[in-house]
Every structure is written in C-alpha cells, then in structure tokens.
Subunit: 241 residues, 2 copies
C-alpha cells in the first residue's frame, strides 16, 4: 500500500491504514492479513528516543568491543535483558520482549526525525490487536494483523522480515500428529507461517519505497487470538545461545 503518509506520534494509525486499505484493495475482505512495519507502529506510539542516555560502565566496555557510540549502546541495553554476542560492529541481544536480534531493534534510519532513534513497540501483540479491532470495526470483516521487523539470523547471510506482533491468527501452523501421504507420522513440522507471511510482505514493502504495510489475501488461516510469543524458541531448546 502506498497511500500511508509519514506517521507521527499520536497519529491514528488504524484510520491511516484503513484509508490505505480502502484506496488500494477496495476495502478489507474476510480473512485478509494486514502486515504493518513495526517502524510505523513505533512512530505512531511515540516509541522514540530523542537523545541517547548517559552510558554506564557496561555500555562503555561494549562500545570499545563493538566500535559503537557508548550512548547508543546504553540505549540498546535499556531495551535488553541479555547480551548474547558482542564483536566489532556486532551487538546481538535478547530484548525485553524476548526477541534475539541486533541492537535490540533500535532503528536509526528513516526515523522521520534526524538524530533520533525508534524503539520496538512496547507490546507488539497489543499493537497488532488494537489495529485488528479497529480495522475489523471499520470494514466489518474478520482479519489478522502482523507487525513485522527485519532481523538477521545465524548461519545465513542477509536479513529477512519476521513477525514481532500477531493478532487474529495462529503464528505457527502445526502439522504434528498428521500423517504423510504414506501414512507415516510427520514430526517436527511446525511452520512459522507468521514469519513467512512477513517475509512475503517484505517483498512489496521495500525499504526505500516507504511502503509500510501490505495486505495478503487468500491465505487460508484459522481465526485465533495469536501471539508473536509463539515464535520465540524456548531457551531450553535453543542450542545456539
């Protein structure tokens, strides 16, 4: 969708997204999935740091390791509960929400206000649910909302979009207990469909074109409350921390 204007704190994101859905897709259809970039959610929610905090000892030490500005490191740590890896140009943390990503998702590009930084939404599931309720009320159809962000990953080069907030659908599609076409039980086949849907949406939500939302129509999903937390691996079953 290209009709979404530059978002500012306090803007009614539901109304602006709804206008864009109405303009480009002729309104929402039953079971549509609306994917919204976390950046615009953060802008609307005022999740912006206008200046970097005073760095403490840990930030000063990590700034030496990473080559980052100490105040910027302090801002990252203020959004984090653990540092997983630090190296030159690299600071991978677990955020307060439980996401493992670079720089706690603190975003300094295309912020809309030079010199400031955008933080991840405080609770992206709640953000997704607010948008879902608003769009459902406006268009009178059931739909799902995903809040997406761009993450790196171990082993594989390049970034992909994943879901940080989910409302109105299950984040994971579970094939366990079903039989394959030879009658053999499938195991370990839980597909992270919310992440795949966000990756699909990224292909039309080009970073430079400023298209902060997309509508996915025709993907069959069961209505469910949904949560991005279902996409967080249990640390006890995470062998790469």
């Amino acid at each position: 969708m290209t009709g979404v204007p530059e978002i500012r704190a306090g803007d009614d994101l539901v109304e602006l997204l709804g206008d864009a859905v109405a303009a480009t897709a002729g309104g929402a259809a039953e079971n549509d999935i609306v994917v919204v970039a976390s950046k615009v959610v953060s802008k609307a929610e005022g999740r912006r740091a206008t200046q970097d905090p005073t760095p403490g000892d840990e930030s000063a030490a990590l700034a030496l390791v990473t080559g980052f500005d100490p105040g910027q490191v302090e801002l990252i740590l203020s959004e984090s509960k653990a540092v997983l890896r630090a190296a030159l140009g690299v600071l991978v943390v677990e955020t307060k929400h439980g996401f493992v990503c670079a720089n706690a998702g603190v975003d300094r590009s295309n912020t809309g206000e030079a010199g400031t930084a955008l933080l991840l939404p405080e609770d992206a599931d709640a953000s997704a649910e607010r948008i879902r309720q608003g769009l459902t009320a406006r268009f009178g159809v059931g739909l799902a909302v995903l809040v997406s962000d761009t993450f790196g990953r171990p082993f594989r080069h390049g970034l992909v979009n994943v879901a940080v907030g989910v409302a109105g659908m299950g984040a994971v599609r579970d094939y366990r207990g079903q039989l394959d076409s030879e009658g053999r039980g499938l195991k370990g086949t839980e597909l992270a469909v919310a992440d795949e849907l966000c990756s699909a949406a990224e292909l039309v939500m080009n970073k430079l074109d400023r298209v902060p939302a997309a509508v996915i129509r025709g993907y069959p999903h069961e209505p469910a409350a949904g949560s991005g937390r279902a996409l967080l691996r249990d640390p006890a079953h995470d062998y790469f921390r």
Copy 2:
C-alpha cells in the same frame, strides 16, 4: 501448482514442471520465479538412500546422545562436514554444501518409497539452472528458479522455507550505499530475498497437499546468474557456531 505427479528417479522434471506451469498459470511469463521443493529435485535426481550405512564410532556415540538410530546418524554424517550441536532429538550439522540445518536435510517423510531417505540435491544451484534453462527454452521467456527446503533456526520457534538453490536472479538484494529518505546512508541492509520468496511459496506448498512447486509472478528482480551460496554466512562473521 497441483498438476505435478509423483516424481521418480530419471523423470524429466523440467517437462513435468513445465506441464504444471502450462496447466495452472497458462504458461510462464517474463520474470516469473518458479520455486521447486528440493524433495522433488532429489527424487528426480535419484538422491535416495535405500539403506542406511554401517555406523562407525562417531555415529554410535552421536546415536547415544541424540537417541537416533546409529545407521541414520551415519547417513547424516556422510552428508556433513561438521557437527555443530548434538542433544536428545537434535543433530545440527554443516552439510557438505555449507548449509547449517538439522539432520543434513536427510528426509524420511513423503519419500515415495517407504524405508528410504532422500538426500539434498548434490548441487542445488546446478539443479535450479538446469530447470531454468529447460523452462526458458520451452516458454521462450526469461525466468528464475529457486530450489527450496524447510529449515529450523536458532532463537525462533517453527520452521521456514529457505532457498538452497538459485538460478536466474540474485539471492540477496543489496540496499547498501543507497540513502534513506532523510539522506542517511542505509547500512547492513542486504535482504535475503531468495529466502523470502521461498517462505512466500511455502504458504501455498503445503506439506500434506503435495504441491511441490509454485510460480511467483510480478516480483521485480534483475536477471543475474545467482547462487544459493550467496545466502551462506561467512563463518568468520557467524557468531553462533
């Protein structure tokens, strides 16, 4: 595409895929991206182990750790160059090709022959290029081909589809050196679009529906030779091995 029959070793995969493209999409259009499940590529190429090899000492030890059958572990190791993690129910390796994944991609479900295992294509880039050349010759249009497989990942729960073979397009879209809308240089923004395209295709290539291929139309990409190797993170910049 639902018109692809059960594939057997020696089958002309290009012809069968071409028939399915012709039946469901009315033929290929310029710049179409054809995504094919690695499983059918492996079947057509005869990448099948009909019995497990005799386990050596390392496999016997890893079988105790993982709870897997020792012969099945030996088969996994025969496809691997390094073991990254072993735990109960978990064996993450680096394959001969450089992919980091569970069980070296050895696949025992929906193999088409009970009691056998399918191995990843020997060279999935070459497989993709053969299919690309064949479909280009048949339909007279330029297109790209991705060979996809289903991988787990650290930190995040659930599996996603990624590209193991790429032909006809760049696997990574590179925004580095471009400026954001505030004139600030974007850094670190290389998007793994081939992975995102495979994730998008997975949403219609349901594991149980046996839809082993999909056509993505309308995604703007620059023709390029392309390689799935571009999606392998340099181990020197991988902080989670």
